[in-house]
């Protein structure tokens, strides 16, 4: 009698509020006996519960316009999901323990690296044609031991602050590197002079708003030119728990995960920056780790504490590179022929497909 049912059609989420309004009205009367009230409340609750199940099938939480009600509904749904998940987990754990040794092996979680689309250009180590191609390409002089690397590091015109310090630190990392100030010279004119002075590499760090953001790496006699985007540069003083400055010893080079043909070319490009025979006395290692087309550069000093344990200290700058283009021939952005160009809309469309 006292219960005035709010029509269920309009407010789908108003369950809690629907309960309150009749209670208020009941409270207003105050003459009813407690038992009756409880019975009616229970009836109300039952009715609410049944009307809870009657939602239109395509209902989603985002259709509720009231922020508080929407939040509450969402929280409820989340809690229910979490409950169900915990139950499933418990069940699985029980089953696993019950089976004991016969339990199936734990499932490997899916990661983007796991789900990587197989690239047909992945290099097979026994492929003769690729081996011949690599054996006679522009790096063959270096890999056959005929030349020693000599690197020229410079920047775009009028560098400031961080870029200058970055170049200096790079010069300590790469052996036989010289930093020169770019006096507004055109690269196409710098290159023949470098070749005449027996340089094998030209590194140009591009600067934007006092931060390094690009790197052009040009292998000199007539080698490929790679253009990278540089991000996440950490100079020495920003690295926590770092070791002392690197020494003059040539570091060991670690190249991780360069599996495709393009990856191989880039890996060789990095490898040719450092001298072929590393000095193990120095215990320094430079790592170029490729993951998801980003190349992470780290420079460490290691020490073997015993046969199984190694301690490492990070020295030196740390930065991330992403390849934007690989051009055949020395730097000539207008008329050069590109071996690979990053075309974002075509290549970055699939999250599981990587180029390097």
């Amino acid at each position: 009698m006292d219960v005035t049912e709010v029509p269920g059609g309009q407010s789908d989420s108003g369950k809690k509020w629907m309960k309150r309004t009749p209670k208020k009205k009941k409270g207003g009367h105050g003459e009813k006996r407690g038992a009756d009230r409880k019975v009616e409340e229970e009836e109300d609750e039952k009715k609410m519960e049944t009307s809870e199940g009657v939602f239109p099938p395509n209902f989603s939480v985002s259709e509720i316009k009231n922020k508080q009600r929407r939040h509450l509904m969402f929280m409820k749904i989340k809690q229910e999901k979490r409950k169900v998940k915990l139950q499933v987990k418990k069940k699985k754990k029980k089953e696993r323990e019950a089976l004991g040794d016969k339990a199936p092996p734990k499932e490997v979680p899916k990661t983007i690296e796991n789900q990587r689309v197989y690239d047909e250009t992945t290099v097979d180590p026994e492929d003769e044609e690729v081996a011949f191609d690599e054996g006679t390409d522009e790096f063959s002089a270096y890999f056959n031991g005929l030349t020693n690397p000599k690197v020229l590091i410079t920047t775009s015109d009028r560098p400031r602050g961080r870029t200058v310090r970055f170049c200096e630190q790079l010069a300590t990392v790469v052996p036989n590197a010289h930093v020169y100030y770019r006096r507004g010279l055109a690269l196409k004119r710098v290159i023949p002079q470098c070749v005449a002075r027996n340089f094998t590499y030209l590194m140009v760090v591009n600067e934007d708003r006092k931060m390094p953001n690009g790197l052009v790496l040009c292998h000199l006699p007539d080698g490929p030119t790679a253009h990278f985007k540089v991000s996440s540069v950490r100079l020495r003083k920003e690295i926590k728990r770092r070791g002392k400055d690197p020494t003059e010893h040539s570091p060991e080079v670690i190249l991780n995960n360069f599996s495709t043909r393009l990856g191989h070319s880039i890996g060789r490009l990095f490898a040719a920056l450092f001298p072929q025979d590393p000095q193990f006395i120095g215990r320094q290692a430079a790592t170029f780790h490729n993951q998801r087309d980003f190349i992470f550069f780290r420079f460490h000093r290691y020490i073997f504490k015993n046969e199984k344990k190694v301690g490492i200290q990070e020295l030196g700058p740390r930065f991330t590179l992403k390849l934007r283009s690989l051009q055949k021939g020395t730097f000539d952005s207008k008329f050069g022929e590109y071996e690979w160009v990053l075309k974002r809309h075509e290549m970055d469309a699939c999250r599981r497909k990587f180029q390097l």
Binding site: E129, T136, R261, F335, Y338, W340
Partner: protein
């Protein structure tokens, strides 16, 4: 070797000196190279058909040799030295009857007769020649063009002077001389006109018949040098590719871009349109052969070939059917013959009551199974019998899984049914 080379419908020359043949229908690529030792000197620069019947290929290498490859035999039959390596690599090659026409980068255009080491005729086409082509209509007309040397059309009977020398474009708005660099050219069929693409992202059409020596038509595409050009079978369009891997179809009447073919990541080295079908094949520095359809600009085929590709050649026969003709055509009647044989050799099975030891009944079952298993892979290549395949597969699947558990009378009933069905179709 010979049968592999007969299957190939696309031929490519690579920087490592390997001649590659690709059979598009079968999606296979084959390497044809002289010996197991390769060298960069043998880098193939130009590929041309040796004769109109397309049974021989002429390949020009960097060290000045021209090799003849026979598609029937699948091997290189001869090799001749036609020029010094100092003249630069070959930029044009053509077969004229029994002789050869070659052009190198820095050297003259030479006409060679068969079995002679000295050129019969020499034309000085300028200092830097990027491309030389022979007119398909007039066998004596040759067009050359290069860096800072404009388009010149020569008549081989009068080698002293070109019949047509193109004039450079007018000076620009600052009165500076416009640089020009012809990278690729082609004769437009059905006339004398020549279309060229330049290193300054322009496309020109020249008409030697008109008194104008400047280009009759000009269009621009992109910001990078255009390196390759091809004319599709249907006229009025031209397909160009540039160093960034952008391949576009342009209209030759208005100069508008009709569409861009996507997919290439590296510079385009050679483009060729199929003579009859609306297809274009492209190869380049990213080590892939791609075949696009010109109508809807979709990528039809993509083949990874491990070296950088320099040049390509399409055979005139239709690409898709190349594999099919030799494959299923022969298989069709063969399959039917084998079917009849199989059914004839099998014992006829009558409906018998259930017996525990049904060895005689098991034998025809096994025979039918093996017969069907043999037929399945052959039948898969046929089209039009798709209805039978799922039925058959399900039946054979069931039989394989439960050979002995299944109701024997049931199986016996199925076989005569199958027999009846097959006989209807056969």
């Amino acid at each position: 070797m010979g049968d592999r080379s007969r299957l190939c419908s696309v031929w490519l020359g690579s920087e490592t000196g390997i001649l590659k043949g690709v059979s598009v229908a079968r999606k296979q690529a084959f390497n044809f190279c002289n010996t197991s030792h390769l060298s960069r000197d043998q880098e193939l620069r130009v590929l041309v058909w040796g004769d109109p019947a397309e049974s021989e290929l002429l390949a020009g290498a960097v060290d000045g040799t021209v090799k003849t490859f026979s598609t029937e035999k699948g091997e290189f039959t001869e090799s001749r030295t036609c020029g010094d390596p100092e003249d630069g690599c070959f930029t044009g090659l053509a077969a004229r009857g029994s002789g050869l026409l070659t052009a190198s980068e820095r050297g003259p255009v030479r006409v060679w007769r068969e079995d002679s080491t000295e050129p019969v005729l020499e034309l000085d086409a300028g200092k830097n020649v990027c491309r030389m082509r022979l007119s398909p209509v007039h066998p004596n007309r040759v067009a050359t063009g290069g860096k800072e040397t404009g388009l010149r059309i020569w008549d081989l009977e009068r080698p002293e002077e070109p019949t047509f020398t193109a004039k450079n474009l007018r000076d620009d708005w600052l009165d500076l001389r416009r640089p020009h660099w012809v990278r690729d050219l082609a004769f437009i069929p059905g006339g004398d006109k020549v279309v060229t693409c330049t290193g300054f992202h322009q496309i020109h059409v020249f008409d030697p018949a008109s008194p104008r020596r400047r280009p009759v038509f000009e269009a621009e595409f992109g910001e990078y040098p255009l390196t390759a050009l091809s004319l599709p079978a249907a006229g009025d369009t031209v397909v160009v590719g540039n160093t960034h891997g952008e391949v576009a179809m342009l209209d030759l009447r208005k100069g508008l871009v009709r569409g861009v073919l996507k997919g290439l990541a590296g510079g385009v080295r050679w483009l060729q349109c199929h003579p009859t079908q609306p297809l274009v094949a492209s190869c380049g520095l990213d080590r892939f052969l791609r075949i696009h359809s010109l109508e809807d600009r979709t990528l039809l085929h993509k083949v990874y070939l491990k070296s950088r590709l320099n040049c390509l050649l399409l055979s005139s026969r239709a690409l898709e059917d190349a594999g099919r003709d030799t494959g299923t055509g022969g298989e069709g009647p063969e399959v039917k013959e084998e079917e009849d044989e199989v059914w004839d050799t099998m014992e006829t099975v009558w409906e018998k009551p259930k017996r525990k030891t049904g060895e005689e009944e098991e034998e025809p079952q096994k025979k039918s199974k093996t017969g069907e298993e043999e037929e399945e892979p052959q039948k898969k290549s046929k089209t039009g019998e798709e209805e039978e395949e799922p039925q058959k597969k399900s039946k054979t699947g069931e039989e394989e899984e439960e050979p002995q558990k299944k109701n024997k009378t049931g199986e016996e009933e199925e076989e005569p049914q199958k027999k009846r069905k097959k006989k209807r179709k056969a």
